[in-house]
């Protein structure tokens, strides 16, 4: 029988080496490939508009959009701030409302039985249909838009958190009972941490929905001449065939959406990376 000498150089087999190299390549490609696609896309777009001489009110060239972005920055930036504030406030209230209602639902079965159908009705009724009504009842256009965005954004938080609060391990629930835990202790030390991954999943969806809700609200409510944020700017630009500005506003909205998603992902990672399966890196 031979005994392996633990001090000898470990053998590196070709397969492992290839796998390591593959990993390195994927790491680089993760950033370079999308960038390449972006460059090709913009280049092709610019070339097409230039060569085919497409009029700017049909399709503006990337260059024109960039120029408009700079020229109209004084107009776009304040609009972006308004849309941003609208979205963030809607999201914050969605989190507060969604969490409170979820806790009420899970603490009392009767509250859930009585109220859940109405939460669903609120969710499935198209916000576009509610917005004009809100406009009538609520004086401030901003508050009306905020309400619209809130209605759209709060449901995923409510439904995810409700499921999460109910998903605590049954044996742990028994353990808490045996140790005489109060309702509040069980909520705080058991149900809430169990619900956290679910809540964060809902938050990611709600972040995107808050922006969509804000844009829709601005479309509907901003139309009455109460010019709000980026979406109102976009709509107005389309009426004036100012397609450079329309595209500039569109791009800014997209950037906001990506930023919100990124922010939510970071929050989620920070909350979960220590313990949750979803945040664990696995060796493959």
């Amino acid at each position: 029988m031979s005994v392996t000498d633990p001090t000898s150089e470990p053998l590196i087999d070709a397969e492992e080496e290839r796998r390591a190299r593959q990993k390195q390549i994927v790491k680089i490609a993760r950033w370079t490939l999308p960038s390449l696609v972006l460059i090709l896309l913009i280049g092709g777009w610019q070339a097409y508009v230039t060569i085919a001489q497409v009029p700017h009110y049909i399709l503006p060239s990337p260059l024109l959009i960039a120029q408009t972005m700079i020229a109209d920055w004084g107009l776009l930036w304040p609009a972006m701030l308004i849309t941003g504030r609208l979205t963030l406030l809607a999201l914050i209230f969605a989190v507060i409302g969604g969490l409170l209602i979820a806790v009420a639902f899970t603490q009392s079965k009767w509250v859930e039985l009585a109220m859940f159908p109405y939460a669903v009705i609120l969710q499935v009724t198209p916000v576009v249909a509610i917005a004009p009504l809100l406009q009538i009842y609520v004086e401030s256009a901003f508050v009306a838009a905020l309400l619209c965005a809130w209605i759209v954004a709060f449901f995923p938080i409510l439904s995810n958190t409700t499921i999460g609060l109910k998903s605590a391990d049954h044996n742990l629930q028994d353990l808490f009972k045996i140790y005489g835990a109060s309702k509040w202790q069980t909520l705080r030390y058991l149900s809430a941490p169990s619900a956290l991954p679910f809540f964060l999943g809902g938050l990611k969806i709600a972040g995107g929905l808050a922006l969509i809700g804000s844009v829709v609200a601005e479309f509907v409510i901003g139309r009455a001449g109460t010019g709000l944020g980026l979406a109102s700017t976009l709509l107005e630009a389309s009426y004036r065939f100012n397609f450079g500005r329309l595209y500039a506003a569109l791009i800014l909205i997209s950037i906001m959406g990506v930023a919100i998603f990124g922010l939510m992902s970071v929050i989620s990672h920070l909350c979960l990376f220590r313990w949750h399966e979803s945040a664990l890196k696995r060796e493959d």
């Binding site: 044996n171 353990l175 140790y179 005489g180 202790q185 313990w275």
Partner: protein, 259 residues
């Protein structure tokens, strides 16, 4: 702590004429009489469906009996009971030390006040170096040790164990069996241990209560007189074999009756 000889033990818990019927008239337990004495290592051994886990849930207070009484000698105080489930049942978001702190925390004791007890419990199960680890960083056997540390951190009079090692591999299981006995020697608590393994029950306990199913009931008791501390050598001794045979025969009888 010294554990008294089997004959001279004080009574800790008495279950008399316990009946438990579930919805749909499923009789889980019928006329169960069981006295548990201080210092007993009592195994409930039986086929599945014999109500051994139900008996444990009744003792833990998670369930109330349909009829009959359960009396604690001197009443059941705070922290008198520890429990270990078949799964480690740890909070994945909490570090090992916070998991062990839980029984104290739920009684409003801040960590600083019970730090010594928590660390002592972890030392007893050999995991003092892992107090800051998260459960996912531990192996199955280590998680179970944390679970045991949590059960004994309040120094309960009685620890209930519901097939705690059933999901572990044989090697880990043997080690944990040995360590469990050493632990019990160290803190001298009473243990009720649910298992469906004859060998495990013989190795661990001084009393094996054999149960039968449909309806769940006690059909006999085997006492294992070999003194503690028991070591690996006990596993190959004639007494071990004799007790295992006796328990097996009784179990077979229980199965035969049920079939």
């Amino acid at each position: 702590m010294q554990i008294a000889a089997t004959g001279a033990r004080e009574q800790l818990l008495r279950m008399s004429h316990i009946e438990k019927t579930f919805r749909g008239n499923v009789v889980a337990l019928r006329d169960l009489d069981l006295t548990v004495n201080q210092g007993d290592f009592l195994s409930l051994l039986g086929p599945s469906g014999c109500g051994k886990s139900t008996a444990l849930r009744l003792i833990s207070g998670l369930m109330s009996p349909t009829a009959g009484t359960i009396d604690w000698q001197g009443g059941q105080g705070d922290g008198d009971l520890g429990i270990v489930f078949q799964e480690p049942t740890l909070m994945p978001w909490a570090q090992v030390k916070d998991n062990v702190w839980l029984p104290f925390r739920l009684r409003g004791k801040p960590y600083s006040a019970v730090k010594d007890e928590v660390l002592e419990a972890l030392k007893l199960v050999g995991l003092a170096d892992f107090q800051n680890a998260y459960p996912r960083e531990l192996s199955g056997g280590m998680k179970m040790r944390v679970s045991i540390a949590r059960a004994l951190v309040t120094r309960p009079r009685l620890i209930l164990m519901d097939e705690p090692f059933a999901a572990l591999d044989e090697i880990t299981r043997h080690r944990l069996n040995n360590d469990l006995l050493a632990l019990r020697d160290a803190i001298g608590c009473t243990v009720i241990f649910v298992t469906h393994s004859v060998f495990e029950s013989v190795f661990l306990s001084d009393r094996i209560v054999v149960m039968a199913a449909r309806p769940g009931r006690i059909i006999g008791e085997v006492s294992v007189d070999a003194p503690y501390p028991r070591t690996e050598a006990f596993r190959t001794s004639p007494e071990y074999a004799a007790s295992a045979q006796e328990a097996s025969r009784m179990l077979e009888h229980a199965m035969g009756e049920a079939a």
